[in-house]
């Protein structure tokens, strides 16, 4: 029965894969492979460096492994909760399934599978370079790769089981009819999770290199109650070619089965009641203080989008994920032992640059969620725009500002705070804020354009849009723009500060770099918007 219920989705997948589609997606696949390789090289280099540290190398390498899974554990659970609410309660096929002679148990299992795949596919696709880097660094045998993949799959199932169980309980506990309350519950939970996470991460002493290493070692990631500990204990012996211990793989397997079973029990107990309570009610919406506001044509779409954003659980709930990312990000910067590293020349400048690279990563991820998906947000109601006297340029402009304004504000605050925490020089502060502003403009243009080029008006939930192949490609290209811009800026800095004397060639190099920065960012802003506009005008599969 489960296979039968999955068949429509599998057929959909099969029908959407043809030579034309594969050829069209080839550039995205190529970009993905390039990033996979870069990710592998980066991890391998970091690992080689870490393992080379005297006395602590091996311990740090093991610590990094468990810390990776510790962070993944929290985020996968959160992602599972939000995905589970979408797939179990908001999917469009639910009314059809419930009206057919299908056992609830089978519906729950199918939705569990779908929620699991959707919440963890990104982690499942991006973790292999880390595993391979560890394997190659330690010269591990084939058995290691099989074991780590199997353990990771089971680890993801544990998070899915926990996430789904929490989703059922939250939907049951909070007054239904208003799914937003459910998500508010998640917000509270997230806050508690982050609180404890941050508490666990507080380094005791970061004023010296020893203190820094000690504080890393004191990160509370190795509780024997945590799956990140089990997976480290299961994998490391075989990685280091010592004897294989079956105990921890069995612990992981039994927990995966237990949490899946628990999620099914919670589903059997609550699902039907929750579904009845979650049906849209004919509740009146208060007009509020802006009730009398009448937008003009330029602001009408923007105003409509903002209004929908705050009413659509699927949209505003994503703010929590972003919020969690940013809190951890700022906290991590606070933890950087700049004083301990003060012996290095230009350490502050380097840290400001690293900060910009990392905030560029945040910018790419946030833009995928809020800017790339903005065109698809119209959904199948896009016919309204297409048949009304609204120029498509005006529509795209509105979508651009809808994403650009909050993302830019967020990024400026983020970079300002992190630089402030690091006590960066005033000139560096201005330069980084200027750079981030420029990147926000170009990445917002890129995101809106890409979103218009690959709209998904018939999406099941908006989170799935940013996770699509187009969304991933956008994220990778956006990050490439960030890296290219920052590399050129770093080169300008190098030429300006570190060359013994500024000669003619130095000046030419600086001018060339500046021209390239302008070219890259202008192209990233303008070209996708232009192509997206054309594609959107020709888009016919609307209703």
């Amino acid at each position: 029965m489960i296979l039968l219920l999955l068949k429509p989705k599998l057929l959909l997948l099969k029908n959407s894969i043809n030579t034309q589609v594969v050829l069209r997606r080839l550039p995205f696949i190529a970009i993905g492979i390039v990033f996979w390789l870069l990710f592998y090289i980066g991890t391998y280099k970091v690992l080689t460096y870490v393992r080379g540290i005297e006395f602590f190398g091996e311990i740090l390498s093991r610590k990094l492994f468990s810390m990776t899974f510790f962070s993944l554990f929290g985020f996968l659970i959160l992602s599972s909760i939000i995905t589970a609410i979408s797939f179990f309660y908001l999917s469009k096929d639910i009314p059809l399934l419930l009206s057919k002679p299908v056992e609830i148990r089978d519906i729950l299992r199918v939705k569990t599978f779908e929620a699991f795949m959707n919440s963890s596919w990104m982690a499942l696709s991006f973790m292999p370079p880390v595993f391979i880097a560890y394997g190659i660094s330690y010269g591990a045998a084939a058995g290691y790769y099989l074991l780590v993949l199997a353990c990771f799959l089971l680890f993801s199932l544990i998070t899915a089981g926990i996430g789904i169980t929490i989703a059922h309980i939250l939907t049951r506990v909070f007054p239904a009819k208003r799914t937003r309350n459910v998500l508010l519950g998640i917000g509270v939970m997230l806050f508690i999770m982050i609180y404890f996470l941050v508490k666990g991460l507080i380094p005791q002493d970061i004023s010296t290199p020893e203190g820094f290493i000690n504080s890393i070692m004191s990160f509370k990631t190795e509780s024997p109650m945590l799956p990140s500990f089990w997976i480290t204990e299961a994998v490391f012996p075989i990685l280091k070619k010592s004897s294989f211990n079956i105990f921890y793989p069995i612990i992981i397997l039994s927990n995966a089965l237990f949490f899946l079973l628990l999620s099914e029990i919670a589903g059997l107990r609550f699902y039907r009641v929750n579904m009845e309570r979650i049906q849209p009610s004919s509740e009146r919406v208060k007009r509020g203080i802006l009730g009398g506001y009448y937008p003009e044509i330029n602001t009408a779409m923007f105003y409509k989008d903002i209004k929908i954003f705050f009413r659509d659980t699927g949209q505003w709930s994503q703010v929590f994920i972003i919020g969690a990312l940013i809190m951890i990000y700022i906290y991590n910067f606070k933890s950087i032992p700049i004083n301990a590293l003060s012996g290095f020349p230009f350490i502050k400048e380097i840290m400001v640059l690293v900060n910009l690279v990392l905030s560029g990563l945040v910018l790419s991820a946030v833009s995928a969620r809020f800017i790339y998906a903005s065109v698809s947000l119209e959904g199948q109601a896009f016919w309204i725009i297409r048949t009304s006297p609204v120029d498509i340029n005006r529509f795209i402009r509105s979508k651009f500002f809808y994403g650009f304004i909050p993302v830019t504000l967020l990024m400026l605050v983020l970079v300002f705070l992190t630089n402030f925490v690091m006590d960066a020089k005033r000139i560096l502060m201005y330069l980084s804020l200027g750079t981030v502003l420029m990147l926000c403009v170009s990445v917002s243009g890129l995101g809106t354009g890409f979103g218009a080029m690959y709209p998904k008006f018939k999406h099941e939930n908006i989170a799935a849009v940013s996770m699509s192949l187009g969304g991933m490609a956008f994220m990778l290209i956006a990050f490439s723009v960030v890296i290219a811009t920052l590399s050129l800026e770093a080169w300008i800095f190098y030429v300006y500060n570190l060359k013994e004397a500024m000669d003619m060639s130095g000046a030419i190099q600086i001018v060339l770099c500046m021209v390239m920065i302008i070219l890259i960012n202008t192209t990233a802003f303008y070209l996708p918007l232009r192509i997206g506009r054309k594609k959107l005008q020709e888009h016919i599969g609307i209703i």
């Binding site: 105003y303 725009i385 048949t387 016919i540």
Partner: protein, 235 residues
């Protein structure tokens, strides 16, 4: 007035619409009937500017829907066969939004919104989210949004979908009233008795081509009426 001048549209190798030429006069109600997949919806979508014709041109009022799309769309009202709306807006907010994108001044927009909500019997649910609306209520809201800017031409794809008998009766009255005020109405439907009752002329479309156009009087004089003619043409 709406003029279709030799329009054709193909999707890959399938001819959805073939060389349709037609003039719908000001204030006329023109119905188009035909079997499923005959090309009714594609024709209407080309008239709204959702799809570009491969050949030929469409004039709405005095504007070409492809070359002067914004002008043409500003005098068009469209009611599609599927009621996809912004689910998280209320009926009032939706009508205000539509008024804004048609650049209707605020005072006029507010009075037209109240007028439309009252006319289509949705005044008492104006502050409820559209997601809680029944199919019939959505259809009423669609009509309200298509008429809020006083269009010169109204394109309707399956107008009576999901409406109860009261709604159908009310809507028939609205369409007749619009026609008497000079609004050109083009509707595609499967409800033959409604087409027979409402339309001044009815066109039969099959396999993308209009094979016959009859006036109301001609249809009345025929044995079996519109249904008899439909079955004959369809076969």
């Amino acid at each position: 007035m709406i003029i279709l001048d030799n329009i054709s549209k193909s999707f890959n190798v399938t001819h959805a619409v073939k060389n349709i030429s037609l003039t719908v006069n000001t204030g006329e109600i023109f119905g188009i009937v035909g079997p499923n997949g005959a090309g009714k919806t594609t024709t209407i979508r080309m008239m709204t500017g959702l799809i570009k014709p491969d050949e030929g041109k469409i004039i709405v009022g005095k504007y070409d829907i492809v070359k002067e799309a914004i002008n043409a769309k500003s005098i068009l009202g469209y009611v599609p066969d599927k009621a996809f709306l912004y689910e998280k807006l209320t009926a009032r907010e939706f009508l205000i939004f539509i008024s804004a994108i048609y650049s209707i001044p605020k005072s006029e927009a507010l009075s037209r919104t109240d007028e439309m909500l009252a006319l289509f019997g949705i005044k008492d649910i104006e502050d409820e989210l559209i997601e809680s609306f029944s199919q019939g209520m959505r259809q009423r809201l669609l009509f309200a949004s298509a008429l809020i800017h006083n269009p010169e031409a109204l394109l309707i794809d399956e107008p009576f979908m999901g409406l109860d008998p009261f709604g159908i009766r009310m809507l028939k009255g609205v369409i007749k009233d619009l026609s008497s005020k000079g609004v050109t109405v083009f509707l595609a439907t499967h409800s033959l008795y409604i087409a027979e009752e409402l339309c001044h002329r009815v066109g039969f479309i099959n396999k993308g081509s209009i094979i016959s156009i009859k006036t109301r009087e001609e249809i009345k004089g025929m044995e079996g009426g519109l249904e008899g003619l439909f079955l004959k043409m369809g076969s």
